[in-house]
């Protein structure tokens, strides 16, 4: 199980790109931290999640 934004989900083996797509989030509007480390955008499709990982997906919406 992978902890995504505090919730345990069955996402083992999925890439960061795939979980963003599952969450219907535009990858241009996020910052993703995997185990407290930023995942560079170029690595989203290559970064595979495994059991025990902690992911924080920070989504940005417009306004400021």
């Amino acid at each position: 199980m992978v902890k995504i934004n505090g919730e345990l989900l069955d996402k083992d083996g999925k890439t960061v790109s795939e979980i963003l797509s599952d969450m219907e989030i535009n990858s241009q509007h996020v910052a993703v931290e995997l185990n407290e480390m930023i995942v560079p955008k170029a690595e989203y499709s290559k970064t595979v999640l495994k059991g025990g990982d902690t992911v924080e997906v920070v989504r940005f919406v417009g306004g400021g």
Binding site: V61, G63, G64
Partner: protein, 211 residues
């Protein structure tokens, strides 16, 4: 007659205590984007006695900004970095203020923000927010970063929070209220988010890292 530097410092020291005021006066904070969030954040930080402010925006003051941004009608057409500089100098005449009228991007961010201790993301477009945050986290992991996401509309004040995402990265806002849904930005709610961001900065300076 405005007070001397020593008089103003002494008044802040009396308020905050010697130790915190020393830290505030020695810290450099970059405010990236000087709109509804950034102009209010900068004013809070200047009033609190932050010693060095780095103001960055490429845009000019427009009449549509006046509902929430800290500019005056007579400043319409001025660059925001110039207009806010004038206001900040009136509020905190001895604050060291650096202004850059430039559009931040992946190439210039590492150079332009190199000397700042804490970086505040206060842009308005989601893509730009994400660009700045990703660039800072990837290239300058030693910096503290305080971002804003979700403060549009009339939803309750109490849905706006400060979240510590990782050790040095904080996000304020409700995370969902997009400027493109509904009525757009309302001064009071933008101010609440700006207050969260400014307060996160002051707490970081004070060494109070937990939320």
């Amino acid at each position: 007659m405005i007070p001397t530097k020593e008089e103003m410092y002494a008044a802040l020291e009396e308020r905050h205590g010697k130790e915190l005021q020393k830290k505030l006066s020695e810290t450099s904070v970059a405010v990236c984007g000087l709109g509804g969030l950034g102009s209010n954040i900068a004013i809070s930080l200047a009033r609190a006695g932050v010693g060095k402010l780095h103001m960055i925006d490429f845009d000019k003051v427009d009449i549509s900004n006046l509902n929430r941004q800290q500019y005056f009608p007579e400043q319409l057409g001025m660059y925001k970095s110039d207009a806010l500089y004038d206001t900040l100098k009136r509020i905190a005449p001895y604050c060291e203020i650096k202004k850059d009228c430039v559009k931040l991007d992946d190439d210039n961010i590492p150079r332009l923000l190199a000397d700042d201790d804490i970086i505040v993301e206060a842009f308005d477009k989601a893509e730009q927010k994400a660009m700045l945050v990703n660039c800072v986290l990837e290239t300058m992991p030693e910096k503290y970063l305080v971002a804003g996401s979700g403060m549009a509309g009339l939803a309750s004040s109490n849905t706006i929070t400060t979240k510590r995402v990782t050790k040095r990265f904080y996000v304020c806002g409700d995370g969902v209220s997009d400027v493109n849904d509904g009525m757009g930005l309302v001064s009071s709610r933008v101010l609440i988010c700006a207050g969260h961001q400014a307060h996160a900065v002051i707490r970081i300076i004070a060494g109070e890292f937990d939320i």
